[in-house]
């Protein structure tokens, strides 16, 4: 069922004809925040209520695209003259390049990568241009936590436009078990026309997406993530595909790339991804992780358990156990305090 839905979502299969299945599909797509992408993949097929729903999603995502284009321009302007050429990551890059992975995509924040020694200057310039720290991460603990251990500055929000920017200086936390060689990827980044921003090349975009999904988060929006991998993989040329594994080895990201190839091959039945994965030999994705991800994606009674395991895994990957224990304890107590405060405010 999930495979069929994922394939419908990227347009590999037509929208279901039967009302009940279509309704279930739209429910699933809505909850996964991918209706805009579904609408982009299925143009001109719809009438009646279905057309209304897809049109609604298109209007919504058109706004995200406008916002992102505008913000990218503002960031470029804020850094003008500094010589810093940030790399747009993820959704912002896909949209700037007009890739299928960006069409109809919901975006709430913009991620950029700069060199570590440029961080202070970038932060100062962005603050001058109106971005400021978020109240949610203003505490000393959060500030220290981000600056000492993370791969990004504490998120900044623009004081007027309320848009969010994450400034990264590496792809995974300093404490993460996996340390991809982002400097090698940055060295191959290409400028975007007409401004000072850059993006990774096609191969590195796929690799970075794989790192983000399989080595960082907890699969919060699996459909959206796997569709992104599918589109990025499908956009690779034959040469890029042939060089993918070697590049993944070079930038130290073999494991997440194996996971990503599994997802593309498993959910979208992409034979080329399967072939590349086979060529990696034993370097596959562990059986237990595959099963957990499948349970999580499929939903049902075991979904909460799978979600919990993936949450633990994401933290395990992010930092050493002692540090993790301390961090989780602080987060738990803070959550309790916040719940209390919310209660009192009402």
């Amino acid at each position: 069922m999930m495979k069929a839905f994922m394939q419908i979502a990227v347009g590999l299969r037509p929208l279901p004809k039967d009302g009940k299945t279509l309704s279930a599909f739209l429910y699933w797509a809505g909850r996964g925040h991918i209706l805009g992408q579904v609408a982009a993949a299925h143009k001109g097929e719809a009438s009646g209520k279905l057309a209304d729903i897809l049109e609604n999603a298109r209007i919504r995502t058109a706004h995200d695209q406008r916002m992102l284009t505008f913000e990218a321009e503002r960031i470029s302007r804020a850094l003008l003259g500094s010589g810093v050429q940030p790399i747009l990551l993820k959704g912002a890059a896909y949209m700037a390049l007009g890739l299928r992975a960006g069409q109809g995509r919901r975006v709430s924040d913009i991620d950029i990568l700069v060199e570590e020694q440029e961080l202070a200057e970038v932060e100062t310039l962005l603050k001058k241009a109106g971005w400021q720290g978020e109240a949610a991460t203003a505490s000393d603990y959060d500030q220290d936590y981000y600056r000492q251990w993370m791969h990004e500055l504490p998120p900044m929000r623009h004081k007027k436009r309320r848009t969010l920017i994450d400034v990264h200086h590496r792809l995974l936390p300093r404490t993460a078990r996996l340390q991809p060689r982002h400097e090698l990827m940055a060295a191959r980044a290409k400028p975007i026309e007409n401004n000072s921003l850059r993006t990774f090349d096609a191969t590195d975009r796929f690799i970075h997406s794989a790192i983000h999904i399989f080595a960082d988060g907890a699969f919060e929006t699996p459909a959206r993530s796997f569709m992104e991998l599918y589109y990025l993989f499908d956009d690779l040329s034959a040469d890029e595909e042939a060089g993918l594994v070697a590049r993944a080895a070079e930038v130290n990201a073999l494991r997440p790339v194996a996971g990503a190839l599994w997802a593309v091959s498993h959910y979208f039945g992409e034979p080329k991804a399967h072939a590349v994965l086979r060529s990696m030999g034993v370097m596959g994705m562990s059986w237990s992780l595959r099963q957990t991800v499948r349970l999580w994606v499929r939903g049902g009674a075991l979904k909460p358990l799978a979600g919990f395991l993936l949450y633990l895994r994401s933290h395990y990957l992010r930092m050493p156990l002692g540090m993790l224990a301390k961090h989780l304890i602080i987060k738990t107590f803070r959550r309790k305090r916040q719940a209390k405060e919310v209660g009192q405010a009402h």
Partner: protein
């Protein structure tokens, strides 16, 4: 195929609500509703009984709303209820018996934050002969009381919560859901509309005492009949206030209306164009008053000028 909710047997309706196959067809929106909370079910079957619904789950929905316990524990111990419109929104769980409030909040959130086909403004809307009065929301202004009072004065209800403006022509769409009444206005409206028109009263909610005045069958029968906006009212209630009206500059009125729109920025260009077109045909007034009769008289007088 739709049928009035009241024509279904209770068993059929409850089964559809439990399985999430209940579809409420109201104005331009279809809402899929899933709940097994007793207070939600009882309220819904009563107050929405004249509304068209379909069961079976085959009809597509604009919004999917679940109303239930926030977690397994709260289904059984110190039971709570929470609307889940499918996206993250900070809402406080309510005690189990406040289901009606959770449902109405959930329906408001769904439409306010997920509708982009129309431009939504936070206003009550009533109409006569195809011409509409918008009553802009302003905390303590008395939007809902005035909306309910206008219903008694022979106007039909389009919505208590949203002015739903089309993008392609200057018209407001009805979305006739119950009118939400707070504190003193509950009794005021009960006296006007009668006990049959009212839901059970919820005491001690985060918003105070709450009850709902149902949309009438006549409002629901006209739920596809759009109207032309003619008059925009900014109400101001104060118990010692003399009835008074002041014209509002269209530009000011537009800015105040836009400030209360959940989706104006997202709809963008079309929202600007449609709003400007609407403003050209609109008379805008602030009114202050100390009782309901005065407010109705003021609106009727202004409506007669705005839509002769």
């Amino acid at each position: 195929m739709t049928a009035a909710l009241g024509t279904l047997s209770r068993g059929e309706a409850v089964r559809a609500l439990k399985s999430g196959e209940m579809r409420l067809h109201l104005g331009p929106f279809v809402t899929a509703l899933k709940t097994s909370n007793r207070s939600v079910v009882d309220y819904f079957l009563d107050i929405y009984s004249d509304c068209p619904v379909s069961i079976g789950g085959g009809e597509l929905a604009d919004y999917y709303l679940n109303v239930g316990a926030p977690n397994l524990l709260r289904r059984f111990i110190r039971r709570q209820v929470l609307p889940d419109p499918g996206f993250h929104f900070p809402t406080l769980p309510l005690p189990d018996h406040m289901g009606p409030l959770a449902l109405e909040m959930g329906m408001n959130l769904s439409a306010a934050l997920q509708c982009f086909r129309f431009i939504m403004f936070h206003a009550g809307v009533v109409a006569k002969d195809g011409n509409a009065v918008m009553i802009a929301a302003h905390s303590g202004g008395g939007k809902s009381t005035l909306t309910a009072a206008m219903m008694e004065a022979g106007y039909r209800l389009l919505s208590d919560e949203f002015a739903v403006l089309r993008r392609d022509r200057n018209a407001l769409m009805p979305y006739p859901r119950p009118v939400s009444l707070k504190n003193a206005s509950v009794d005021v409206v009960r006296q006007m509309a009668g006990q049959d028109a009212m839901s059970t009263v919820l005491e001690g909610t985060p918003k105070g005492t709450i009850a709902y005045r149902r949309a009438r069958a006549s409002d629901i029968n006209l739920m596809h009949e759009e109207t032309v906006p003619k008059l925009l009212i900014f109400p101001k209630y104060d118990k010692d206030e003399k009835p008074e009206k002041r014209a509002v500059e269209p530009a000011d009125a537009a800015m105040r209306l836009i400030a209360g729109s959940p989706n104006y920025q997202v709809v963008a260009g079309a929202a600007f164009d449609s709003t400007m077109t609407m403003m050209q045909g609109l008379k805008c007034f602030e009114i202050s008053y100390g009782n309901t009769a005065d407010s109705v008289a003021l609106v009727e007088e202004l409506f007669a000028e705005a839509a002769p």
